[in-house]
């Protein structure tokens, strides 16, 4: 019995540890796009993955950074160990202790401090800053691995070699190096793995147009992570797993490792030459690529533009596009505000545009240079006045509404009001958005107030309404609304219209409604930054995106509604062109609003009330 419990316990632990990874691997072979359904086995995502240039570029960057940073870190770390080894005990131990601190330090602290350092020294963010950062955080791991090998050395062997006539350098390579080589190799592999894995530090030190796999994956979170990424994550996991196996097994099998070592030793010169050549080639490609005279630096949401459009723009105008991505308005803002990178064009959401205008970050647009703005639906230009009162700073790009998605087989009454989310009949079948402004929008609209209210009494009422509703909800979620509704796991959910079109295609029983009390019309618009180094090119870029054929390409790629009326006319599929979900007639609805920036003080009030709701 005791034995059984022991085994059961161990089994449970390992199931918990490995279940997430197994799920990921299984989903990477799922032919259905949604997580809720098993559509049969496929390797389609793996082949798609290798066809995707952006992902392949990120993969190349990741491997390049991992190799170069770990090679340089290994070199520096090993040399440091030689110096440390010759020091007296006290300073040596002090330095070794200091070496451990960066490893224990939170990544976010390391990342932010490196970013600040680079800014204060006026570095341009890009590949070189990522490399410097990775080398920096890799060195301690190399020292950690190499130093014990030095401690194991017989101090006399080096002297014996000198005694027999060897020069210090010859003695090091002939006598010391073979003995510490296992440590150097494991230090290198450790550094390589750490570099491969890193997200946070890379995130803070990367510049426009450079992405590693981890930052690339993260920029996709807004639109939902694509199955290609499951495939990629599976490959990364397997790679790291194999590397760790190599690191851990080699010291255990002494004989084998020795053979390995002597092999490496025999070909060490060739290895070194090959490594140097590789670094030089990659380095020169990296140095000489993209030094065009004309460029425009674009900072956009992840997966928020058809890559083909960029190629077309470059071919037609001869202006090179440096393209960078972010995942939320809140991560974009500090990067732009700190002026760490010289971006020209950004695509923030409504309330963020207002905040950026108020903080003087945006440049007024010269609409003479953007004639295609005439293609944009005047209703949305008008709606933009909520955040850009004089329409001076922004050109709408993607738009949408928030509404109720319901399952016709589970709800038989007509749905036209937010009130249905407070109906006892659907207890445990209601899904709410897990974000403060979205949740309060629903409650404020239900009560007949403005969703941009900052009246404490109205907000208090909204809070109470949300608390009353909470027992009825199944969960507060973000993008799981889509999957859960497709999988018939809930009857009613609050959802963005862009997701709704897609869910309806997967599950025809679903219906989308904009409630009569009004709702949120969200608008993501192109803006030019005040300090943009290439303002004219930026205007050309925005004008290009407003061209009907280009707007159509982006609509088909993103699937979020476009405010470009001329582009809509070009849509071939009648169902989509006439879809009232994708293209609602804004004049038919009352009380439509767009989020505004309410100021830090009101933001705090919202957040505190939200905490009360969540903790109930």
């Amino acid at each position: 019995m005791k034995r059984f419990i022991e085994r059961f316990y161990v089994a449970i632990i390992f199931i918990f540890l490995y279940a997430p990874i197994v799920t990921l691997i299984v989903l990477s072979f799922n032919s259905s796009r949604t997580r809720a359904k098993w559509g049969g086995f496929t390797t389609h995502w793996y082949s798609e993955l290798f066809k995707n240039d952006a992902i392949m570029q990120a993969l190349y960057n990741t491997i390049f950074i991992a190799i170069v940073s770990s090679v340089i870190a290994t070199l520096i770390g090993t040399i440091t160990c030689i110096a440390l080894n010759n020091m007296k005990a006290r300073p040596k131990n002090l330095l070794l202790g200091m070496n451990n601190i960066p490893m224990l330090n939170a990544d976010i602290v390391t990342g932010i401090s490196l970013m600040l350092l680079f800014i204060s020294f006026g570095f341009r963010f890009g590949m070189q800053t990522i490399l410097l950062a990775h080398i920096t955080f890799n060195i301690p791991y190399v020292i950690l691995n190499v130093m014990p090998k030095f401690k194991q050395l017989n101090p006399n062997t080096y002297e014996a070699a000198l005694d027999l006539g060897a020069s210090p350098v010859y003695a090091f390579f002939k006598v010391i190096f073979p003995d510490i080589l296992p440590g150097i190799l494991s230090g290198f592999l450790m550094a390589f793995t750490m570099s491969l894995d890193d997200f946070i530090i890379t995130h803070f030190t990367k510049g426009a147009g450079v992405d590693t796999l981890s930052t690339k994956i993260y920029t996709e979170v807004r639109k939902g992570i694509k199955p290609e990424m499951y495939a990629l994550s599976t490959i990364i996991f397997v790679t790291v797993f194999v590397l760790l196996l190599i690191v851990n097994i080699s010291p255990a099998k002494e004989k084998q490792s020795r053979k390995h070592v002597s092999f490496v030793r025999r070909y060490s010169k060739q290895f070194a030459a090959a490594a140097v050549a590789l670094i030089l080639i990659i380095g020169s490609v990296f140095l000489f690529q993209g030094k065009g005279n004309q460029q425009v630096i674009v900072y956009n949401w992840g997966e928020y533009l058809d890559p083909e459009v960029l190629t077309m723009f470059e071919e037609e105008t001869g202006i090179e596009v440096v393209y960078d991505e972010y995942e939320t308005n809140e991560t974009m803002y500090p990067k732009v505000a700190s002026k760490a990178a010289d971006y020209d064009v950004v695509c923030p959401s409504d309330y963020m545009i207002q905040k950026m205008i108020e903080n003087g970050l945006l440049a007024e647009l010269n609409y003479d240079n953007i004639p295609n703005v005439k293609n944009i639906d005047p209703d949305y230009i008008n709606q933009s006045k909520d955040f850009d009162p004089e329409n001076k700073y922004s050109v709408p790009y993607c738009v949408g509404t928030v509404g109720i998605l319901y399952n016709k087989t589970m709800v038989d009454e007509p749905v036209d009001s937010w009130d249905i989310l407070w109906n006892d009949k659907y207890k445990d079948n209601i899904l709410m958005q897990d974000s403060v402004r979205d949740a309060f929008m629903v409650a404020l609209k239900k009560l007949g107030y403005s969703m941009n209210s900052s009246d404490p009494k109205e907000l208090e009422e909204a809070k109470q309404a949300l608390i009353d509703q909470k027992p009825l909800t199944q969960a507060y979620v973000v993008d799981q609304v889509r999957d859960k509704m497709i999988g018939n796991e809930a009857a009613i959910g609050v959802i963005y219209s862009g997701e709704a079109i897609y869910t309806k295609r997967e599950n025809p029983d679903l219906e989308y409604v904009i409630p009569k009390e009004g709702t949120n019309v969200w608008i993501d618009s192109w803006c030019i930054l005040k300090d943009a180094p290439n303002k004219e090119n930026a205007e050309k870029f925005i004008n290009f995106l407003c061209r009907p054929d280009i707007a159509l390409m982006n609509f088909e790629y993103i699937t979020y509604s476009t405010p470009n009326t001329e582009a809509r006319k070009l849509i071939e599929d009648d169902d989509i062109r006439n879809s009232t979900i994708a293209f609602p007639d804004l004049t038919q609805y009352n009380n439509l609003e767009t989020f505004q920036y309410l100021g830090d003080k009101t933001d705090r009030i919202y957040n505190n009330l939200w905490k009360e709701v969540k903790s109930k």
């Binding site: 017989n154 062997t157 002297e159 014996a160 002939k174 002597s262």
Partner: protein, 357 residues
């Protein structure tokens, strides 16, 4: 006599506040087997490392055959070292280890092979060319270390406690082996040890050191029979060291008795130290002895008995082939030739040593 091959002139060396060598002067003649002997921390290894070039003296000069080599790095010096922990190159075969120095000198392959063969034969390890150091015993590894050093035909071989890690039997075998090697090769050996028996067995000259100072230089017989101070007397073999007063030439007084001796020139009524080796103490009937006492302890040691005799308020150490049981009353006699008179210690380093091991 042969010329001075190594001449250390006014060598001073300290680590921080710790003075390891203080104004040391020492020369080594060609073809000599010289041993630096002393307790740990006495500066003997530092002296060897300065000769080898692994340490730089703070002051003073190292002369080699008349040239100043003080600032010459170890790889440029015409001498080789055998280290205490062998320091073989573990990832190379025995042959590669031995060939290491020769390859650096760009010797031909035939010459190197010849030398490897010769050296292995010399240390009685024929046929071990392709073995790895790990597969050899401690004694075998030490002999490889010696072979690796001597194939370079150094003028001087430095040996830093080379037998320290070996067991007693092996150590004794290796001592004879080293003496044989030295005679066959005809090169100078500078040997460091804290084992006085090893030093007495092998050396032409012994340098006894303590706390950075040379205490006595001499042949093994000189050092053993005529120690110059209490430290040397105590460190070299067992001895009875007794506070005494030199009454006049050839007459010394201790434990209330007057003893005949052969030393002169210490003055009259001067405090001195007297050294008597335990094998020189003769036990006799109580009434026949200069003083008398009682046996308190006895151990059988093989070649002799080791006894402790309480006499004159002092515990005498006595070696004798005749057994006297515990409790027996005995008298003590000493031949005047075996009473060694020494000056009282002038400094701390000349006092009786307390050897750590």
């Amino acid at each position: 006599m042969a010329n001075k091959l190594i001449d250390l002139v006014n060598i001073t060396k300290s680590y921080g506040d710790n003075v390891v060598l203080d104004d040391l002067n020492l020369y080594i003649r060609e073809n000599e087997f010289l041993t630096l002997l002393g307790p740990s921390g006495c500066g003997k290894t530092t002296t060897l490392r300065i000769i080898g070039g692994f340490e730089q003296p703070d002051q003073g000069k190292v002369m080699f055959d008349g040239t100043d080599i003080t600032n010459l790095p170890p790889n440029k010096r015409q001498l080789n070292t055998v280290f205490q922990k062998y320091a073989l190159f573990t990832h190379m075969t025995i042959a590669e280890n031995i060939a290491f120095g020769l390859k650096l000198k760009n010797k031909s392959k035939a010459y190197i092979d010849d030398k490897i063969h010769y050296a292995l034969k010399l240390v009685n390890l024929d046929g071990y060319e392709n073995r790895k150091p790990d597969s050899l015993s401690g004694g075998q590894q030490q002999r490889i270390a010696i072979a690796r050093a001597i194939v370079n035909e150094p003028k001087i071989l430095l040996l830093d406690e080379p037998l320290g890690a070996l067991d007693l039997k092996l150590r004794q075998d290796m001592q004879y082996e080293l003496i044989r090697l030295k005679n066959e090769l005809g090169i100078t050996f500078i040997y460091v040890t804290h084992d006085q028996e090893e030093a007495l067995t092998m050396s032409d000259t012994i340098v006894v050191m303590n706390q950075g100072y040379i205490q006595q230089i001499g042949t093994p017989e000189d050092i053993y029979n005529e120690p110059e101070n209490a430290f040397v007397a105590d460190f070299i073999g067992d001895s009875n060291i007794i506070n005494a007063t030199m009454l006049e030439d050839r007459l010394v007084s201790f434990f209330g008795a007057k003893w005949q001796c052969v030393d002169e020139g210490f003055g009259t009524n001067k405090p001195v130290d007297v050294v008597i080796r335990p094998e020189d103490v003769v036990l006799c009937k109580p009434e026949e002895g200069t003083i008398s006492g009682e046996v308190t302890h006895i151990i059988f040691k093989g070649v002799h008995y080791e006894m402790e005799v309480m006499a004159g308020g002092f515990e005498w150490l006595v070696h004798s082939t005749i057994m006297h049981p515990v409790g027996e009353k005995v008298g003590i006699q000493v031949d005047p030739f075996n009473i060694q008179i020494m000056h009282k210690p002038e400094s701390e380093d000349e006092e009786v040593a307390y050897v750590e091991d």
